[in-house]
Point group: D2
Chain length 242, copies 4
Amino acid sequence: MKQIQKLKELDMQISSKWQEIFSHPQAINFANSLMGKDKRVYALYLTQVYHYASHTARNQALVAVNLTNQNTAYMKFCLEHTLEETGHELMALHDLRSIGVPIADPEKEMPQALVATELLIAYLYWISSHGNPVQRLGYSYWAETSYHFISSFVEMLTSNLNLKRQQMTFYYSHSNIDEKHARDVEEIVCKVCKTDEDWRQVSKVAITTLDLTNQILLSVLSEYQKLVEGTHSDFEILNKIK
Amino acid sequence: MKQIQKLKELDMQISSKWQEIFSHPQAINFANSLMGKDKRVYALYLTQVYHYASHTARNQALVAVNLTNQNTAYMKFCLEHTLEETGHELMALHDLRSIGVPIADPEKEMPQALVATELLIAYLYWISSHGNPVQRLGYSYWAETSYHFISSFVEMLTSNLNLKRQQMTFYYSHSNIDEKHARDVEEIVCKVCKTDEDWRQVSKVAITTLDLTNQILLSVLSEYQKLVEGTHSDFEILNKIK
Amino acid sequence: MKQIQKLKELDMQISSKWQEIFSHPQAINFANSLMGKDKRVYALYLTQVYHYASHTARNQALVAVNLTNQNTAYMKFCLEHTLEETGHELMALHDLRSIGVPIADPEKEMPQALVATELLIAYLYWISSHGNPVQRLGYSYWAETSYHFISSFVEMLTSNLNLKRQQMTFYYSHSNIDEKHARDVEEIVCKVCKTDEDWRQVSKVAITTLDLTNQILLSVLSEYQKLVEGTHSDFEILNKIK
Amino acid sequence: MKQIQKLKELDMQISSKWQEIFSHPQAINFANSLMGKDKRVYALYLTQVYHYASHTARNQALVAVNLTNQNTAYMKFCLEHTLEETGHELMALHDLRSIGVPIADPEKEMPQALVATELLIAYLYWISSHGNPVQRLGYSYWAETSYHFISSFVEMLTSNLNLKRQQMTFYYSHSNIDEKHARDVEEIVCKVCKTDEDWRQVSKVAITTLDLTNQILLSVLSEYQKLVEGTHSDFEILNKIK
């Protein structure tokens, strides 16, 4: 009973954070930029997905490696989810190529992670290897249930940019496994959180990583602005999209 | 073709190491001590299994976390095997209890890891997080195929000590998954080893960890000797076995 | 010649970041809150200094531990600076006590790190153990030269809050070693940065960590607001200041 | 009083371990091989010093990075000793070159670490980052006082091999700082060890690492045998010594 109550509180915190994010004027600017039917902003985002996806799988596994985590069920949850997400950065690479970004060797040609992306990566490694091992569930929790919040936005994007399904494999592969994962993560959160402090830590990480992810989107938009204005940018390879 | 040749060489190196181990006079002493039908030597060994089993799963996962490992198939192999072995120290704990060792809280009552056990643990963490990520396969390789070498020894042990199947869950659970694992590990070794140096590293780790495991057995025997002689020992809780 | 030019560019980037920070309306609010002569805002800041100071020394040493750092002079710089800063969280603790915060056992009674503080800590560990080892100099560089920018602000603070020197040991101990350190860090940056990419990394970390530090200040102010308004806060122990 | 008693016990354990090491027939073989005035055995040893020296400084610093170490005096001890030993692998490299081993680029031409050397390195990283942080003092303790035990052996070596002082910079630099270090380490052991378990851990690590170091010597001798017999060896570059 108490767990269901706590879960509802967590859902409400996440939901109101999403509303805050979508209410921001940048989101509207973003939508407007899409009107221009410019695939570069989507490509820019995919370069960052490429970076964080390769790390989130790894730091998810770190939670199982961490000796302060002695909960076998939770260790297995971490390993199973890492297994499902290992190598997913290759989907982002595939999508980049399929919209026409000429990246042959990603190690040399993939634009670097933006500072905002590095911050999300750094924070996830930190909370996966230090402090209460429970807390990383805050990230998994909102990430697995995010499709609910972003699907209409993504549909608008797809239609504006005239994207085909095979140009969005990262998105679709994750939205498909969404429902099973969402139940898994609910179950493990309820099993692993035993104290109010545990729930507080999960909530803290959920809100913080949702904020950091929003910062990535905002950074993507401001890098896009550089491409539009033609000022120097590390992402000029994206101008090759036809 | 070359891979099969290399695999055969590795098999021969491991096989001759096993022969060296079994030819040692200590092995005979071990068998003799068993004649005495003394379960304490088996219990002593299980306390060490408890320690290394909880770490080998974790450092196996570290190979997937390691950023120098960029091979998706190999990362998945590591995660799958960690998944199967997570929590197996609880089997060793179960076996200890079922032969009559009164350990209620393992964190407080489980005798410590012997130096030899610490060395195996330390070495596995080191090779899992530094150097050629391929090398850790050397440990998986011999470990998954070890039942072939030790089964007749274990049968003798079982019969001498009059052990029941439910007192040997750690052993039987691992021997059961043996055949599938043995094929998996052969396959991944052949996929991942691309150069002679890769094979050399796998072989080095196989022989070194087999040696270290043998050192654990020898240390168990010499600790057992202390119990027999009644000199001070960290394992006196094992004297409570009826 | 080129190094001096690069150093000047770095100085200008940091200097304009400071101006941006000071031009923010929050800084004025901060000053206004000081008018109220309320030591709680200073205390709040010290609790966060306590947290990050204990970590910055440690992650500074990690740069020397990091095997990708093969520059002996740079390794020694890191170790010397860690040595000088080890245990400095105790100065923050001393200052908290001397303004009347009744913290007997910091492990139990010290309020937790704010999310903004955790982000700075997480980012410093990340850049100290991954990527170009040179980059962490970006943090040392602005930190050692910051007294130049903040001294007039601190003087105003001191006078508003009527702080005595022994209530500001953390600040004074760091401003005293400032000049020597500032020269040290200039020297090592010029020695260690060999490529434009090296300088770019140093600059990226300088600006990012200066931003993160500013976020700590802003978070301190918004936590202070909670204390003023009497809403629930993790920092209520600070209300005990007389 | 108790600390002095404990220190004496530790000294006796170490001293009897040294006697055990020197009583081994291999030590005599070693001396005999020296009669042949063959610098290759000394060179072989130096290649291993090159490897472990670069790691022991780093893992010493890890003890200060380790968050379970909250003792400021002990953290400073670790950092000071790391500082003094940073880059000492370059002395081993210098000595190798000065006896005629043609290593231009050590990263490519330095023979690899032997398994025994890897084991010492792996164990030191493990005990520096896990378990009781006090334990690593066991290694520092015997290492700083070892010159007392090995000096007559080294004198015999020097005279047999006709070594000049500038071919032994690693040895002499360490024996010079010996006395001060020996006092430092005694002092910090007494300050940091508070319980019998602490002393037991220090003693365990002292004996284990002395054993591992002896294993390095024995491995060096058996690799030397390969050079003498002309069978394949990774150390053939040492045959170029005139």
